[in-house]
């Protein structure tokens, strides 16, 4: 059996979606594997949802984009809509549940509402939920696993808001299960090394963030 993993990550511009993808792909390359990373680009990028596609495999990768991901990540309300088509029955779906509240509602309760029908509140350009706001975003019940990681809260309360995306990075690599922590740390060093040199505290902060992300997924996978 060939090892391979397909990852799609969606979030708002500035959330660091592309940096996470870049670090994952670089770590794959570090391990001598085939790695392919492609951002969505184009005019929609200005003010739209930012999406990154990463694939890591033992042999030459096919098309740069794919239909269903093994790990699919949504980091904002509208990123959920954008990324849902990539969720299949083998997908581990990871979302930041400090930004997106996803009610566990069964199909019967919702009746005819389906994922193709966008709820009116979904069409407002909200970044996160207002307090008390109820949300009809439905995470497909057909996903293999749905895991909420409160990355924003963890970063804000325990670390620093800046390392929010590294918490997600940790979650993604643990869910993907194809890369060693060492190569991810090396890739982080390559990507962020210059920032670490200016502010050495940042290095430890990033490593802690990575660990927190990994830990969250480990716990969730044990529980399920």
């Amino acid at each position: 059996m060939n090892k391979s993993v397909k990852i799609a990550i969606a979030g708002e511009g500035g959330q660091g979606v592309q940096s996470i993808a870049d670090i994952i792909a670089e770590a794959g390359n570090e391990e001598g594997l085939e790695a392919l990373y492609i951002p969505n680009f184009g005019i929609e990028q200005r003010g739209g949802v930012s999406v990154a596609y990463v694939q890591i495999a033992e042999k030459l990768i096919g098309s740069p984009k794919f239909e269903k991901g093994d790990v699919v990540v949504a980091l904002s309300k509208r990123a959920v809509d954008r990324i849902i088509p990539y969720v299949g029955s083998n997908t581990i779906f990871v979302y930041d549940n400090s930004l997106i509240y996803i009610p566990e509602v069964s199909d019967e309760v919702v009746g005819l509402q389906s994922y193709e029908t966008v709820a009116p509140e979904a069409q407002t350009n909200g970044f996160s939920l207002k307090e008390g706001e109820h949300n009809h975003y439905l995470i497909p019940h057909y996903a293999d696993k749905v895991i909420g990681v409160p990355a924003t809260d963890i970063a804000k309360k325990e670390l620093h808001p800046r390392v929010f995306n590294i918490v997600i990075l940790g979650a993604v690599i643990e869910a993907a299960g194809i890369l060693s922590q060492e190569s991810v740390k090396n890739a982080m060093e390559n990507n962020l090394g210059s920032k670490f040199e200016k502010n050495p505290q940042l290095r430890q902060l990033n490593i802690d963030a990575l660990q927190k992300g990994i830990q969250k997924i480990k716990e969730a996978l044990v529980r399920s």
Partner: protein, 367 residues
Amino acid sequence: MEKPIQEEKRVFMTGNEVVAWGALAAQADIMYGYPITPQNEIMHYWTRLAPKYGKSFLQTEDELSAGFATIGGVLAGKRSFSATAGPGNTLFQEPISMAEMMRIPMVVAIQQRGGPSTATVIYSQQEVNMTTYGGNGEGLRIVYSTATHQELFDYTIKAFNNAWKYRFPAFILGDGYQAKMREPLIMYNPEEKGIEMVKPDVSLGKEGVPGKDRDPVYLRNAYSMEEELFEVLMPMIEEYNKVSPEIEEHFSLGCEDADLIIVSHGIVSRAAMAAEEELRKEGIKVGLFRPITLRPFPEGAIREICKSTPNILIVESANGQLARLVKEALFGLPINMQAIFKPGVGITSEEIIKFIKSKKTEEIIAK
């Protein structure tokens, strides 16, 4: 001055970066460019590399000018190149026609974007017609359609060499996906690998007094009589046809015992390759034919394969631009043709598999 790549090394970069490094490895002297997405970074990376390695760069006022300036550089004896996409490629057709007429070896990298017109800045395979047969002429060109970053590097080097060897304009035909994605490849110095780089020669501004020390240089682009043009053009066309078999390249997989041949080029052929492998696992005998040169088209090779397997499925991110070349190559053979045409949109292996499975056997496999 730093020397470009000496030893082989594995790198991980975007396709645009690869083209810039490939041009450097091919000992290009100067790039003339005008920005257009998704090829901008070829220019950006080249301007970063140029001062380190004693190379030059000129940004012109538009693509027409970039094309003609590239020709000027070649006439001055410099390995010159440019890069463009989409509507920029349209404007490039005029200087490219001139290069064809005057046998000027210009090299242009093209990263296809959606069309017609401005359309998208993202991706397509819709510049096949224009790159192979654009301009007012006969398509006397060399067009390499790449699929991987390794090929972007390899064929950038080859485009320079074959442009100067055969004196026809040469193209590296990539696309927005290849331009923007990152994947690993091995970079090398072609001379270390025994690839001898064809030396450019000076056409204009040679030493000595014309008519006294040497013959005058007479480059012609305009003819007053029909017969005059015909006399110049026919030997050119004959020469193109004669060298075509040396230039033609293709890749095929599993065609020997296949019931159905998927025909695709460029990045789509990677999806086709993955589909071929998956379907084989399920016992469906599928093969893959991929033209690497779209011009000259590997006609002999595809005819040979389709004589024994007449069932083909053409898959491309355009509305039949590759199909037109394939049909012309297969003219006269009894062919059963199916197609997936998705102009301006990427194609995955899953889609190809789904399409093949959705068909009844007799639809795709004629007896």
